[in-house]
């Protein structure tokens, strides 16, 4: 969509208001329940296992470019690199998008600095491989095999290369945790990785790990926003079904409302 319509404006307000409200409420002390997500719990355990084996960790964001998704992935990377800094194991970050290089460098540096291990930080572990999807996949495979990776984290947006990346880790016996918003790639990760986070769970990881009040409130707000969407879907479905039997219910009215311009 190039431009908003009045109905879309109202929908945006309806979706964002609960997020702001819940963030405010959570900051004021309300405690929200967060269900257990096995895949996220495994993150700490996987890093600990790699530390015991003395094997490095690899963290890739696939095809993710500078976007809110990258920001969500950086939250996870920050948590993982803090543990890595603590237990003295290297974390390797292969990249496809050079624009995110500086942000990743800053994230890792901040994490090492927070743990007082800045002297151990090596920016050469952030490796820009290629912007080409398949060249990136082959570069990733090479690193996984050469470095004998202990744990592989695959978070972000992925395309056809997802299975090549996941199989590379599988071949060296690495523990693998994946999370993606690319719905078509989820089955590939489920078959090749130990744990897979589906869609929005990826956005929840940072809140789950840090228990930050802003992020927790935002999670609760998202649930309410999804309820708004669900209500709209139900209204649309009922309306369209009734339009088949009663003339009063004009077909496509919701579609018309949303496409009506200023």
């Amino acid at each position: 969509m190039e431009h908003s319509t009045p109905a879309i404006c109202i929908l945006i307000i309806l979706l964002l208001s609960p997020v702001l409200y819940c963030i405010r409420k959570c900051r004021n002390g309300t405690v929200y329940y967060l269900r257990k997500i096995k895949g996220i719990d495994e993150i700490n355990f996987s890093v600990a296992t790699s530390a015991e084996q003395g094997k490095p960790i690899i963290f890739t964001m696939g095809m993710t470019d500078v976007s809110p998704l990258l920001y969500a992935c950086l939250g996870i990377l920050s948590h993982v690199s803090k543990i890595c800094a603590k237990v003295n194991i290297p974390v390797i970050v292969p990249l496809r998008d050079p624009e995110s290089l500086a942000l990743i460098d800053l994230t890792l540096k901040s994490a090492y600095e927070e743990k007082g291990k800045l002297h151990q930080y090596d920016s050469n572990r952030i490796k820009y491989l290629s912007s080409d999807q398949l060249a990136f996949a082959s570069g990733y495979q090479g690193i996984v095999h050469r470095e004998k990776i202990g744990t592989a984290f695959l978070f972000g947006s992925f395309a056809a290369e997802s299975l090549i990346l996941a199989e590379a880790g599988s071949q060296v016996g690495a523990r693998q945790i994946a999370g993606t918003v690319s719905a078509e790639q989820i089955p590939f990760f489920i078959t090749s990785c130990d744990y897979t986070l589906l869609g929005e769970e990826l956005f929840a990881v940072s809140a789950y790990l840090t228990k930050d009040k802003t992020q927790l409130g935002s999670l609760r707000g998202q649930d309410i926003a999804k309820l708004v969407l669900l209500t709209l879907i139900i209204i649309g479905t009922v309306w369209e079904t009734l339009s088949l039997h009663f003339q009063y219910f004009e077909s496509g009215i919701l579609k018309n409302i949303f496409s009506m311009s200023w």
């Binding site: 969500a72 950086l74 820009y128 060249a135 996949a137 802003t214």
Partner: protein
Amino acid sequence: MINFITKVITFIGGLYFFLEFILPKKFSIFQSEIFFGKYHDQISLSLVLISCVAVGLGVINILTIHGSVILSKKSGFSSSLVLILSFFFSLFIQSASWINKESHLSSWKDLDAISTYVSKAPDTSLEKLDNNLKIVLENNRTPEGVSKESYLLFISNLRKELEFNLNTNKDIFPTSLKEIISNKISEFKNISLREHEKMLANTFYERSEKVILNGLFFPLGASMFSLLAFYISYAAYRSFRIRSLEAACMMLAALLIILGQIPQGSMYISESLPEFRLWIMENLSTPALRAIAFGSAVAGLSLSLRMWLSMDKGSFN
């Protein structure tokens, strides 16, 4: 202080793009018309600058990592050496090929400009256009690869056509006439340029570029992609082992879809298998995918809001 400035810039940037999306393109306030987003294209294009800088960052990263491996002669330094040499060789060939093309084809760009000038000329001044066209075409450089005689012949034919149309077809719609002339120029350009490009394709740089791209890069990419066929079979084998109730359900659904997809399924087992496959895809698979998409979109929207208002602590300082 830097944090504060960053937050302010983030907020203003976000506010502009948000307003550009929600506000109508033209609206009135206090009897004055406002065109919000009038310079949107220019603002969006300026963001391309960031990408240009980022490409440099990527190159520096490659040179630093592999350069240090070569200098310290660490294990695998020969691979790094090959990478660096290939990088500079490709860069040289691609740049040389581009410069070569640009220098040889610059004289052709004038014809494009003339074609645009003709198609955009005002409808009322066709006679003026005729005079201008004469001056412009005759003063124009003869495009490279075309003899002076053929070019002058083309100009004279073009002018004859324009004069003929101006004298005989008085009722011809000016726009169509402009289109005819513009098309004639494009046609001349396409035919003659094709011949010239064939000649250019035989130069050293062009042939080397073809070897690098068609002979190395694309086949290597295809080899990587073909690996997927083996990986998919292997992954399917692993996931089809029935270890739990969920795995059994997945196996059953996959089996029904495979049988519904192939002709043997409807021929030998049941004619309703293709319909059943479609039902599973449309009623079970698609809603699940849409639910994931909805969830991700709402989560992305809320994260964008937090970024815009700088509400998060952030992963970096």
